[in-house]
Amino acid sequence: MLFQSMKMALASILSNKMRSFLTMLGIIIGVVALIVLVSVVRGATGEVTDAVSALGTNLLSIQILDDKGRAISVRELEDLRRFPDLSEVAPIGRDIADIRYNSKTDTASVTGTTSGYTQIQKQELACGRNIQGPDEDNHLNVAVINYETARSILSAEDARDALGKEIYLKGIPFQVIGVTEKEDEDMQMFETTVYSAMIPYTSLMRLSDSVGGGVRSFVVSAVSDDRLSALESEIGNWLDTRLSHDREAFTLINMSSIMGAMDRIMNTMTALLGGIAAISLLVGGIGIMNIMLVSVTERTREIGIRKAIGAGEGSILLQFLIEALMLSLLGCALGVAASFGILCLIGFFSGHHFSMSPQIITLATGFSLFIGMIFGIYPARKAARKKPIDALHYGG
């Protein structure tokens, strides 16, 4: 019976293709609006979130704004390891330096840190090794350079060719011990220069005048995600005590909180845009109801004939309801296909990849089904409740 009703509904839809398409148009536009808007928002915010996430979510970033005349030393930071929730701690110093290799010179961003930093950042290298404890202890002039520096400054076709080479930062020679993986475009938005080098913090203290006066910035990671809040409180208290109970003297950023905030923003935007798209789907549903009501009136005599030869109210209701559901589901399918095409086009012109998540397709399908059901039930009931004799003699 269900199969026969589907067959009849499909035949009815196909017998009036243009009208069926125009009826579906509301649903198609609604589905396209829902999928495209939500996918673009999720894609765009997802890229930012991924970029932030790549920096590490299980960490606290601390900036010292005023050390109250008592510089915080690297050794003091090492003492923070006494906190059981702390996994790694690393000072960060940044400077801009001239970089030279043979005759090529440019400007590079130089980061001074310790071996802990590479572990916190889970930094992957294309080749070579990261900065290690002995490099810091012996104040060695070694550098881990980024892929772009190796390729452009050192003219290395292969990253491995850069290893062991000597580059000059502010005229001081540094031996290249590692090259980082090629960065994706999203990461580059956090960099001020294309070229960067990472050197031991102790080496940067010698190289840079601005870094010599104590640690101004450092990162710590927690032993686990769920201990990050406890660590935040411990580090906050320590800084508060260390900096004469002046909460204005430092900023403490919890990367996990930032991610949480970004997630909330993304969810709010998704819900907002999804809501707007849902309204257009609702309008599409009204279109379906309108046409189904017209269809019921037009086919009153057909309903009468069907009832005369034994169709019950249930059969007629099922036939018209399935027709409404088919219209909305076909509209949804066309909408999904159109959304795919539109997202590909947006991706092609913007250079970003936007994918449709299965969840959003499920949501669009579920919502279309719901709309078809809600707006199809009234015309279907109207058809089913027609008296056979009135329907049979309608218009004739």
Binding site: A11, S12, I305, R306, A308, I309, G310, A311, G314, P388
Partner: protein, 231 residues
């Protein structure tokens, strides 16, 4: 067994009350071939609609196989129309978008008959009316006579015990009308009840028994010559 006891049906047309059936009483036994005859506007169609469970009487009782029709729900009435009654309308009442086969199959679908049973019964019915070869034609591709034969095949397909024909030859030429009457005789001989509603005296005479309807009143015609007077 069809039994009418004091059945009345009243239509309100504007301010006027039209009594289409006025305390009509009659009985049609199982296996009878009965014609109901009356001039236009006499209440023939109302009578057919009530016999066929398409409409309900306002007053009186209609018993079908001893059961009061008013006691049935709409769903049960649909089952009665589907299983017990085979309708043959003057204007065929076929669904134009369906083929002859699909039109004949429709009542069996509502009966929820399995595909194999449907196929067998539809083909059997179409063969019986001589339209098996044209089963995939739509009504618009068939002549009036062929369309009426499809309608008869649709009525035959469910193997009902009562055939209810409302002016079945009204839209047919004489030859096709004659063939149709022959088919009714065959169905009657096979034990089915045939109720033929007509205003054509010659067609009415084909039935073993005739009932006249005038101004909503029904009565048996005992003398065949009376048929001419009624029409």
């Amino acid at each position: 067994m069809i039994e009418f006891i004091d059945v009345s049906k009243v239509y309100q047309i504007g301010d006027t009350e039209v009594r289409a059936l006025d305390h009509a009483s009659m009985r049609i036994g199982d296996g009878e071939f009965v014609s109901i005859i009356g001039p236009s506007g006499s209440g023939k169609s109302t009578l057919m609609n009530i016999i066929g469970c398409l409409d309900l009487a306002d007053e009186g009782k209609y018993l079908l196989d001893g059961q009061e029709i008013r006691d049935y729900t709409e769903g049960e009435l649909a089952k009665i129309r589907n299983r017990k009654i085979g309708f043959i309308f003057q204007d065929f009442n076929l669904l134009p978008k369906l083929t002859a086969y699909e039109n004949v199959e429709l009542p069996l679908i509502y009966q929820r008959a399995p595909h194999s049973v449907r196929k067998r019964q539809v083909e059997e019915a179409l063969r019986r009316v001589g339209l098996y070869e044209r089963r995939y034609h739509k009504p618009t591709e068939l002549s009036g006579g062929q369309q009426q034969r499809v309608a008869i095949a649709r009525a035959l397909a469910t193997k009902p015990s009562l055939f209810l024909a409302d002016e079945p030859t009204g839209n047919l030429d004489q030859k096709t009308g004659r063939e149709l009457i022959e088919l009714f005789h065959q169905l009657h001989e096979a034990g089915n009840t045939i109720v033929l509603i007509t205003h054509d005296g010659n067609i009415a005479k084909e039935a073993a028994r005739s009932i006249k309807i005038l101004d909503g009143h029904v009565s048996d015609i005992l003398d065949r010559s009376e048929i001419e007077e009624v029409v």
